[in-house]
């Protein structure tokens, strides 16, 4: 039923809460993309069918719902039992009857399905006690994993659109902007521009046709926070955009979502249709007289379309290429009309800020970076997933307390923040509090909140090469420094990683990198050299080793690395033989094995699997010299 007034909105929220509490018990099945890939759809369906067939819906008031991403993707499918707050991990269809019978029916915990803390090896039953969740403070992700993204009433019961209702209940657009200003909110897409200032300049721009846009073109390798928000709580994005449109004076908007996020598109479409039907979107929203509607524009998957001017060109139906931004989008943006673009996470923050007040949000964070920030924590860390924390949290806290430390307890080497345009920070920067300025001052950036943790078996030259390859494929090619510069930079790095590096390569990379920073057209090109420049800043010796010694200290550049088996303590366990893809390892059981250098492709599979740590890597040159000597 359409909500015609603020009074009716209050009644609708009360009814939704009532309906939810009347049902009593809940089983939440995560149906984010990560868990879906692990088979959670079948688990959700099994719960649904067996709750009905077992009569549990009526006797226990039990119901199940599919939720968005809990962030703990590597343990999926995740199931939460409420109101106990039990978390079961890696739940299969076969586990469903047992969960219903024991946990739901008799209140028994099934130890096998509990999360085990890798640090203490202890099983932890409660969701909120798990270190990965315990330290988090979720604002933009406040309802993800809790609400059914396809159910507007469930969202209303969880507080969705409360901020919108407050904004439309007597707040002027200027008061809304003042509240955002008080929150200190800055753009979560990476650049960190003050949201209130952006809104103000667009509000001031002339003309009666303006746009608000949402940038859902998240494309950084390893980043998935925007996807999870759009998939798991689409109404939070809609709410923020409606509030922003009201503050700016816009009546039209677009959600630009990359086409590789099909579930986000489906869930947003459903949310738009539901919101329209209930009077939260469209003409005369909540009876306030304010009109605003939104459309989805699906991107074609070009990384550069996350750049604001390219994004606008793409929505216009033209080639997604950036253009000079000497005239701001707030004056001339989409279709040359005043336009305000914010990131998914920024929009998701807005509703909570208006509902709870700017001071509430500003209560977290550092002097210049307020509130909380979502990160995609990935790489060589024990707990990977999606997290949200107050600004100013140290990297050490994120990686060790939430991430649980480095996989296999190997030494930490670096953390890459900010996506391809970001930088790598070494161990002596672990105690840095994370905020916009501190990351930038240390040669990295906030970016979209990607955080890739690397251990000692990571070659920093190889990492820089990886990002260069990505960017050279994603550069639009419009301007010379980015197009030709990335191509040439990649040539240098391919040489470095294959033993063809030569004196002067470092200086050439630095010179080229600086010219790309200064001369490129858009931020993609301007920041494309960051992975190179930041790794050079902190790991220059590693570069020098690749050039001078033709050796990769991390043992990752295959052309520079050889493996050998040390006699002690090789027990002849044969595990290395089993994983070797080229049958290069031989040896009798319980006797020392040997690697045939002629067959070895230096993949390192044996190194990773050896239980006795008796395989070591050495520079290939050293091995070749030893063999040449032996042949003499």
């Amino acid at each position: 039923m359409r909500i015609e007034s603020l009074e009716q909105f209050g009644a609708a929220v009360a009814a939704a809460r009532e309906a939810r509490s009347a049902k009593g018990r809940e089983v939440w099945v995560c149906c984010g993309t990560g868990c879906l890939a692990n088979g959670s759809k079948a688990v959700a369906d099994a719960f649904g069918a067996q709750i009905v067939s077992g009569g549990l819906a009526t006797t226990l008031g039990l119901y199940h719902k599919s939720t968005g991403c809990h962030g703990f993707c590597e343990r999926g499918p995740l199931v939460v039992i409420q109101p106990e707050g039990l978390l079961y991990t890696k739940v299969g269809v076969g586990d469903v009857p047992e969960v219903l019978e024991k946990t739901v029916g008799k209140g028994e915990v099934i130890p096998r399905l509990l999360y085990k803390d890798p640090a203490t090896k202890q099983a932890i039953a409660k969701y909120d006690d798990i270190p990965f969740y315990k330290h988090q403070i979720r604002v933009s992700m406040r309802n993800i994993g809790r609400v059914d993204p396809a159910n507007l009433d469930d969202a209303l019961a969880h507080g969705a659109y409360a901020g919108l209702a407050r904004a439309l209940s007597g707040m002027t657009p200027d008061q809304v902007i003042a509240e955002i200003e008080a929150s200190g909110l800055r753009g979560r897409g990476g650049a960190g521009f003050a949201t209130a200032r952006k809104w103000k300049s667009c509000r001031k721009a002339g003309g009666d046709r303006k746009f608000v846009l949402c940038n859902g073109d998240e494309g950084d390798p390893g980043a998935f926070k925007d996807r999870s928000i759009m998939e798991g709580d689409p109404h939070s994005v809609l709410e923020g955009m409606i509030i922003g449109a009201y503050a700016i004076g816009a009546h039209e908007g677009y959600l630009y979502v990359r086409d590789e996020y099909p579930l986000a598109v489906v869930n947003l479409q459903k949310a738009l249709a539901d919101a329209r039907q209930r009077g939260l979107l469209g003409a005369n929203i909540l009876g306030s007289g304010f009109d605003f509607d939104l459309r989805i524009s699906r991107g074609g998957g070009a990384f550069v379309c996350g750049e604001s001017s390219a994004l606008m060109r793409s929505i216009e139906g033209r080639t997604g290429e950036p253009r000079a931004k000497y005239v701001h989008a707030s004056d001339k943006g989409l279709f040359d009309l005043p336009t305000n673009l914010n990131n998914v996470e920024t929009w998701a923050d807005v509703g909570a800020i208006i509902a709870n007040g700017g001071a509430w949000f500003a209560g977290w964070g550092t002097k210049k970076s307020k509130g909380t920030k979502a990160f995609s924590l990935v790489g060589k860390v024990k707990n990977t997933g999606l997290i949200e924390l107050p600004m100013g949290t140290t990297l050490r806290h994120i990686i060790y307390d939430i991430g649980g430390g480095i996989l296999k307890d190997r030494p930490f080497k670096a953390v890459q923040t900010g996506g391809p345009s970001g930088g790598c920070l070494p161990a002596d920067r672990l105690d840095l509090p994370v905020d916009y300025e501190i990351l930038a001052d240390n040669g990295s950036m906030m970016g979209s909140g990607g955080m890739i943790v690397m251990d000692d078996r990571t070659c920093m030259v190889d990492v820089a090469k990886y990002f260069l390859k990505f960017l050279s494929e994603e550069s639009c090619g419009k301007c010379v420094p980015c197009r030709e510069g990335l191509k040439q930079m990649l040539c240098i790095f391919e040489d470095l990683c294959t033993g063809r590096g030569k004196a002067g390569d470092i200086e050439r990379s630095e010179r080229l990198g600086r010219a790309m920073q200064l001369g490129s057209l858009c931020e993609l090109g301007k920041s494309a050299a960051n992975p190179v420049l930041s790794t050079l800043r902190y790991f220059r010796a590693e570069y020098e080793s690749h050039i001078d010694l033709k050796a990769c200290p991390a043992g990752m550049c295959r052309d520079l690395t050889a493996y050998e088996i040390v006699s002690e303590p090789c027990t002849g366990c044969h595990q290395c033989v089993k994983v070797c893809p080229t049958e290069a390892i031989s040896g009798k059981a319980r006797q020392k094995h040997v690697i045939d250098p002629a067959k070895c492709i230096s993949c390192g599979a044996c190194f990773d699997v050896c239980p006795e740590d008796c395989i070591r890597f050495i520079p290939k040159k050293e091995q070749e010299a030893a063999h040449a000597h032996a042949d003499d």
């Binding site: 550069s475 010379v480 197009r483």
Partner: protein, 260 residues
């Protein structure tokens, strides 16, 4: 009228113009490769980078491209600062690696002190500098027959699906605006060939010269209601007729049309 300082000279620029025009007005040469008065500025070659500052910016300056930066009153522009020259040099060095045999690039690089590229030379030398003039002029003419395809290092100029472009009318605007002669074409008395597409030529009914493709005459006659016969007469004969009319009105005897 915005007043700015460029390399120490005071320049009065016209409202709504870009910095490049102001530089030229002041007699200051700024190199460009993708700029042309017939098309909208593009900002792709990055050679016209300049430093812009204001006295109140405390020594901070920003690098912008002159072809797209709108003139502002009171700005101070340096067209040859150290970092500007360095950036231009790297850009030319990169272009020389891409187009090692192209005279325009070799000359411009040499003028900046670069005789040989310090990067890896393109194993398949090309004359295309991807300045985008051809595609922009094609858009401006109204055909949009060619465009840039692919991205990054694989970017190139091509018709759709690399097949003879259906929208092309054989006007040669792309070939004529191309600064390096990369776009090839052949024109005979009866046929013209460009982008692997053949066109029939029309002869001027007055002087008999082949001067326009039938497709171009059809295209322009179809727009704006000007009769096709107007486009069939060649520019020389149209000018001669205009001159004759002007002379007649001025009471002078007409001179015969120059054949060329």
């Amino acid at each position: 009228m915005p007043t700015l300082t460029i390399d120490g000279r005071t320049v009065h620029a016209d409202h709504g113009t870009f910095l490049l025009a102001a530089c030229r007005k002041a007699g200051i040469e700024v190199p460009t490769l993708c700029e042309h008065p017939a098309v909208e500025p593009y900002g792709g070659c990055r050679l016209c980078v300049v430093d812009v500052t204001r006295p109140e910016w405390d020594g901070w300056s920003k690098m912008v491209v002159a072809c797209l930066f709108p003139v502002e009153d009171g700005i101070v522009v340096h067209t040859r600062s150290e970092r500007v020259m360095e950036t231009r040099k790297v850009v030319l060095d990169l272009l020389l690696a891409r187009c090692p045999e192209t005279p325009l690039i070799r000359d411009l690089a040499a003028a900046h002190g670069i005789v040989a590229t310090s990067f890896v030379t393109n194993p398949e030398p090309t004359d295309c500098i991807l300045c985008g003039l051809c595609t922009r002029v094609c858009d401006t003419m109204g055909m949009s027959a060619i465009s840039s395809v692919d991205r990054g290092a694989g970017r190139e100029i091509a018709p759709p699906f690399r097949a003879p472009p259906p929208a092309c009318v054989g006007c040669l605007a792309c070939a004529e605006i191309c600064p390096t002669g990369f776009i090839k074409f052949e024109t005979g008395t009866r046929k013209r060939r460009i982008w692997d597409k053949d066109f029939d030529m029309l002869r001027c009914p007055r002087c008999g010269r082949s001067h326009i493709t039938a497709a171009q005459a059809d295209f322009f006659a179809g727009r704006g209601g000007v009769p096709r016969s107007y486009f069939e007469i060649c520019d020389h004969c149209k000018r001669a007729e205009l001159a004759a009319t002007a002379m007649r009105l001025a009471g002078q005897p007409a001179t015969p049309a120059r054949q060329g």
